[in-house]
């Protein structure tokens, strides 16, 4: 047995990263960042508001949370719809109670199908982040560039038409990109994306068509990861976020602004037996000194 000799060639084995998107940087050696509130910890609530067609297309892949059973999969189609009709409104109410503004990563299909939801988001002062077309709008290498460009444009144009303003930020489904995605997002006029989870602060990301800001919305802290994948309870999720807050608040005193992303899903955290725990978390965070709620757009803007 032998391997192709090229397998032991390492053409990119040199100082720095193995790509040109960003330079390596130690989080603890950067100039301190300041949030618009002047507080040390920015809590970024990011809600994924998604519509799953009952016919999955799997091009290039099936989104997490998508249909499972043979057609027609009523149980998953309706359970996801529950999130948009019921769970999301529980979340809107919870945010209102603590006067928090959040970012909502919205499929364009939500805007065309349920314009009332968009009106309610806008009225509450939350930010809309473009989150593809619908849950068949996944991106990965293999998706033709023209199709990806059209998907991004359709998402942004629709959300602009229904909400009245053009989204500045983007979040891919499952944070999945092709090699073209950052450049196409920049060409579409977006200013930031939320897909790369390699950091805890916003940073500049070169695309070949100008820089974007990447606002890392840590998937490890999401309800999808902690509750759906790792199957921890909502109470445990709250404990974990509170532990994270203690750590970040301590660091903020020494190193400048820190960011706690709360990436939540209406059909997961918006269920009756979980939402109380989330409300408790919001109330706890709202009471903490040196802590403020910020949208992802505000966080991206703080990079200056």
């Amino acid at each position: 047995m032998t391997l192709d000799p090229a397998y032991l060639d390492y053409p990119l084995r040199k100082a720095g990263m193995d790509h040109d998107h960003y330079r390596w940087s130690n989080l603890f050696e950067r100039p301190p960042i300041a949030w618009p509130s002047g507080q040390g910890v920015a809590v970024a609530v990011v809600i994924n508001l998604e519509w799953f067609p009952i016919i999955p297309e799997d091009k290039p892949f099936r989104a997490p949370g998508h249909m499972v059973t043979p057609y027609p999969d009523y149980r998953h189609y309706t359970a996801r719809e529950y999130g948009s009709r019921v769970g999301f409104y529980r979340m809107l109410d919870a945010l209102m109670r603590v006067r928090a503004r959040a970012s909502v990563a919205v499929n364009a299909a939500i805007a065309t199908r349920y314009p009332q939801v968009i009106a309610d988001i806008v009225a509450a002062g939350h930010e809309i982040v473009a989150h593809s077309t619908d849950m068949n709008g996944t991106i990965a290498s293999g998706l033709p560039e023209a199709d990806e460009r059209a998907l991004i444009a359709a998402s942004i144009d629709t959300l602009e038409r229904v909400s009245g303003s053009r989204p500045r930020g983007w979040m891919s489904i499952a944070r999945s990109q092709s090699f073209n995605t950052p450049r196409l997002l920049a060409e579409a006029g977006l200013s930031y994306m939320c897909d790369w989870v390699n950091d805890e602060l916003p940073y500049r990301f070169a695309t070949g068509a100008g820089d974007l800001v990447n606002v890392p919305i840590n998937h490890e802290l999401s309800d999808r990861q902690i509750v759906t994948v790792q199957q921890n309870s909502a109470d445990s999720y709250v404990q974990q976020m509170q532990d994270a807050h203690v750590l970040l608040a301590g660091e903020a005193k020494r190193f400048g602004g820190r960011m706690l992303p709360l990436n939540i899903t209406p059909y997961v955290m918006g269920l009756p037996y979980r939402i109380d725990a989330f409300e408790r978390l919001l109330a706890h965070l709202a009471e903490q000194p040196g802590t403020a709620f910020h949208t992802t757009g505000e966080i991206a803007g703080a990079l200056g």
Binding site: W24, S141, Q177, D195, V197, E220
Partner: protein, 296 residues
């Protein structure tokens, strides 16, 4: 190993009962070593015919970004917690880190940590290598770590745990003293190799942070509790029998350095440091001490 046989013939069977005494320095009951994996994963690595590098088509943005987080964020939190409580690291190193991110390697070296090889990249596997290729991998590892840190590596943890039937014989021939790839015991022991002397160093998949979080789906506090239970039991047994045990805590900065995990983990270090029965040390020191005390 005995290639192609049902029993690979890696070691002799030695039941845990009635082991001869094994004394750790200072009369300690359990040797505790912390093993941060400092790794570089490539965004677009070439394909190995026997194993895919990433579950998704390249770029696997979440997989890559998650690992990269370890070198930008997690390492510094993890390393500071370890230094604060007096725990050196024994690093399982993707040696290409010496070229890509020498700042991280230098930080570990400055803290007095030991390095052993974990391959060139964690996205390049040994499966399918011929002998010359595997020798090139081992020689590259030895040379790269020596040039970057001045250290001569004593140990091996196969890149992404990918082996060939000749790996253990080869690393022994190159003078390495221990392998972290065998999981059959809570004490070091002899490994059968063609030349030289090689021992198995108790590592652990069971209490590896990756297993804790993604195989057993533990919360950070549950994982911390697991480590404390593992420690208590091994310390109790070593104390009772006089046959010192080994506990390894294998870590990944991209997992343990997360903001919801590092606090509970620090409680574990505090607990072990305060207990008084632990020889808090490095894998190479355990190997040296063992090989001196126990004849081959």
């Amino acid at each position: 190993m005995r290639e192609g046989e049902k029993d690979p013939g890696l070691y002799d069977f030695r039941p845990y009962r009635d082991r001869p005494p094994l004394a750790w320095p200072g009369g300690k009951s359990v040797a505790v070593w912390v093993s941060p994996n400092i790794e570089f994963y490539e965004l677009d690595p070439p394909a190995n015919p026997h194993r895919k590098s990433w579950p998704k088509p390249h770029p696997d943005v979440v997989g890559y970004g998650h690992r990269d987080y370890g070198n930008r964020v997690g390492h510094w939190r993890m390393a500071d917690a370890m230094s604060k409580h007096g725990f050196p690291g024994s690093v399982s190193l993707s040696v290409a880190m010496c070229q890509h991110l020498p700042e991280v390697v230098a930080d570990a070296n400055d803290r007095g940590w030991e390095f052993f090889s974990h391959g060139i990249y964690n996205t390049r596997y040994s499966y399918g290598m011929d002998e010359a290729q595997e020798r090139a991998l081992i020689e590259d590892s030895i040379r790269t770590v020596r040039e970057a840190t001045g250290q001569v590596i004593k140990g091996w943890l196969a890149p992404a745990l990918t082996h060939t039937p000749r790996t253990l014989d080869l690393i022994a021939e190159y003078g390495l003293r221990y392998t972290c790839d065998l999981y059959h015991d809570d004490q070091p022991g002899e490994v059968h190799v063609k030349s030289g002397r090689l021992i198995s160093m108790p590592y652990s998949l069971e209490v590896n942070d990756h297993y804790g979080f993604f195989v057993y789906n533990m919360s950070p506090r549950e994982y911390a509790d697991t480590l404390i239970r593992q420690y208590q039991r091994l310390a109790d047994e070593g104390e009772r029998s006089g046959a010192g045990t080994v506990m390894c805590i294998p870590l990944h900065a991209y997992l343990i350095g997360q903001p919801h995990r590092i606090g509970p983990f620090e409680e574990v270090l505090k607990h072990i440091a305060a207990d008084g029965r632990a020889w808090i040390t490095r894998s190479g020191d355990i190997a040296d001490h063992y090989m001196q005390q126990v004849p081959a």
